[in-house]
């Protein structure tokens, strides 16, 4: 994940590219807070990625003789009402967040948003008009509502489909592995992640397509895809990076909200949202839990909190470094 914020110069072929990115990186490193945030983010994500290795227990193993324990050497963050180890569940929950963040960004923001934005901006005309209008319709819905509506209505259909696939192909574990959950959440979060990115890219492209070097390329008979991906895209990378870094925190939070309502990740697989929803009985017991067993509520919440905070700091810094003219 962290690589999104550490642009790989090798992938970009632009006259100024290599030196430019090295320069950006150097400036970014000078911002101590942002750099520290990036390290924290990397650390958190590494915890999630290596969850199977660093877990101290089995995330679904209940131990009814050790329920509601406070933090101890055995259970670093204590145990929940079913005697499950909270530390283990948190790191697995982070893994869920990592997977969802990646799938959502890869499918939604990066793939769909960037491509559609490029197309709309470059071709303009009716293609652009249609895309923009569709986008407006989608973005006219209140965010959270649309996400919940999509998750609620699509999930059973997708699960049904996956089970049919399992039955007909003999592949097992498609549903139980959680892949289906990720697909559902990814689709539900699409509208959130897609339109903003598209609009951003489109705006940049609209400006760039008139640039001299693009006109020159066109005059030389360069094919359209080549112009789009070789000449225009690399110059849109900076704003994309900034936008992605601001958006990732929101994605983590959206997963929490969906799982809180039981529409996200399915038990026994832990996720930060599932843990928060479970321990607070969907909000109602949150005050009591905070008072009597704060570690159960705080463990997942602090992770979400840190992620959102750090991504904002990083986004801010990148914004300054990459778009010196912007405020």
């Amino acid at each position: 994940m962290a690589s999104i914020t550490q642009p790989e110069p090798a992938e970009i072929e632009l006259p100024r590219s290599r030196g430019h990115w090295r320069n950006v990186w150097a400036k970014f490193r000078k911002r101590r807070l942002a750099f520290a945030s990036l390290i924290i983010i990397t650390f958190i994500y590494l915890l999630g990625i290596f969850a199977p290795v660093i877990q101290t227990h089995d995330y679904q193993a209940t131990d009814l003789m050790r329920t509601q324990q406070g933090p101890s050497a055995e259970n670093w963050f204590g145990t929940d009402r079913a005697g499950r180890d909270i530390y283990t569940r948190v790191v697995w929950g982070i893994q869920t967040t990592v997977i969802i963040t990646i799938t959502t960004f890869v499918t939604g923001s990066l793939f769909l948003g960037v491509t559609v934005g490029l197309v709309a901006g470059y071709f303009r005309g009716w293609i652009d008009a249609i895309i923009m209008r569709v986008g407006e319709v989608v973005s006219a819905f209140p965010d959270i509502l649309l996400i919940i509506l999509l998750a609620a209505t699509l999930r059973p259909r997708i699960v049904e489909f996956a089970r049919n696939v399992e039955d007909s192909t003999g592949i097992s574990g498609l549903v139980s592995s959680g892949i289906v959950d990720y697909v559902v959440i990814g689709i539900a979060l699409l509208p959130l992640s897609w339109f903003g990115m598209m609009r951003l890219v489109r705006g940049q492209v609209l400006a760039l397509r008139e640039a001299e070097y693009v006109e020159a390329a066109r005059a030389m008979g360069t094919t359209t895809p080549r112009i789009l991906f070789r000449h225009i895209l690399p110059n849109v990378v900076s704003p994309i990076i900034v936008s992605v870094s601001f958006g990732i925190g929101a994605i983590a939070l959206s997963e929490v909200v969906l799982s809180f309502f039981g529409l996200g990740v399915q038990p026994p697989r832990p996720s930060l949202g599932v843990m928060i929803g479970e321990v607070t009985a969907r909000g109602g017991a949150s005050v009591s839990v905070l008072r009597d067993h704060p570690e159960q509520l705080l463990a997942p919440i602090i992770v979400v909190w840190l992620l959102i905070f750090c991504w904002n700091i990083v986004g801010d810094a990148l914004n300054d470094v990459l778009n010196p003219r912007a405020r």
Binding site: E136, V137, A140, I144, I276, S286, I301, N312
Partner: protein, 309 residues
């Protein structure tokens, strides 16, 4: 510009019609049957069939959609499936009003905290206080509501008994305080950020330096020139914030037991109360579109160099 506004206004109904159609589509994809939900699990299949007929659920989607649109054009948003016999508007209206009041209160909190703090931070740029303020406010901004809400309740309602823990008593009741803080404090971050940025920009302008040079007092320069000019762009942000709050206070309404629109729309999704949901989407989308348009127009008034086309 008039032509532009006209074009945008003409597009709005089309957008709304598409949004409504989208909800209809979701309604057919979604499992769960409003008639069945309403009647509960003791209903016989014939009963459910009769109920479906009564609710008009048996007709094909295009027919229902056209019927719905025709109704809306006459100002009739239909009747709720869940609360049978209640016109949708009579259900949504009061709930929406609650949410609007709550969000205005939250906006006031955000503005009251955010603007002075942002201004102060900008004036103290270069000292340790500026980053301290920015970081603090970002920490508050990132704070998940799942923590803020129970924390505020525990501290201010249960421990100190200063304010009620939950419920709704209108804009001027003490019950609004905690939820308004819960939404408003993270919201303040946005205002700090923008106020700080726009103040910094204004401070750098020639006329401020001129004012100082003329020997105007610091106070006058600060308040007459800097603050006032820095506020202009903030206005538009307020507009966005208000429009965007629609439905955003869902979890806050849930935990504080506030009978607002967020709760209602969530119920409508889970109860498959599509008339209520559709009306809600239409109103929300309409407000958002109009808010955007108003902002665009406001831009041209604030800054005549901007032309709408």
């Amino acid at each position: 510009m008039l032509a532009y506004i006209l074009r945008r206004l003409l597009w709005t109904p089309v957008l709304l019609a598409l949004a409504a159609f989208f909800v209809f589509l979701m309604g057919t994809i979604a499992p769960g049957d409003p008639a069945e939900l309403r009647l509960g699990n003791r209903a016989t299949p014939e009963r459910i069939e009769r109920e479906r007929e009564r609710l008009g659920l048996d007709d094909p989607i295009p027919v229902r959609y056209v019927r719905y649109v025709a109704g809306v054009l006459r100002g009739d948003f239909g009747e709720s499936y869940q609360y049978l016999g209640k016109p949708v508007l009579s259900i949504i209206g009061p709930r929406l009003w609650v949410s609007v009041q709550l969000n205005i209160a939250a906006l006031l909190v955000a503005v009251a905290i955010g603007l002075p703090l942002g201004f102060y931070a900008a004036k103290r740029q270069g000292t340790g206080r500026d980053p301290a303020i920015v970081i603090t406010i970002l920490i508050l901004y990132a704070m998940p509501v799942f923590f803020t809400a129970p924390f505020l309740i525990l501290f201010f309602a249960v421990k100190l008994s200063w304010v009620p823990a939950a419920g709704w008593g209108g804009f001027f009741s003490p019950q609004i305080i905690l939820p308004a803080l819960t939404i408003g404090i993270p919201g303040a971050a946005i205002f700090v950020r923008h106020m700080r940025a726009s103040t910094l920009e204004v401070i750098g302008q020639e006329y401020i330096r001129t004012a100082h040079a003329k020997g105007m007092s610091n106070f006058v320069v600060n308040y007459r020139h800097v603050a006032r000019n820095a506020l202009l762009p903030i206005l538009t942000i307020m507009g966005f914030t208000l429009a965007g709050m629609f439905g955003g206070s869902l979890i806050v309404e849930l935990i504080y037991g506030i009978p607002g629109a967020g709760r209602l729309s969530l119920d409508a999704i889970f109860q498959r109360d599509f008339p209520v949901l559709t009306a809600f989407v239409l109103l929300g989308a309409g407000m958002l579109v109009l808010a955007n348009l108003a902002i665009d127009v406001a831009y041209t008034i604030v800054d005549p160099r901007i032309r709408l086309q």
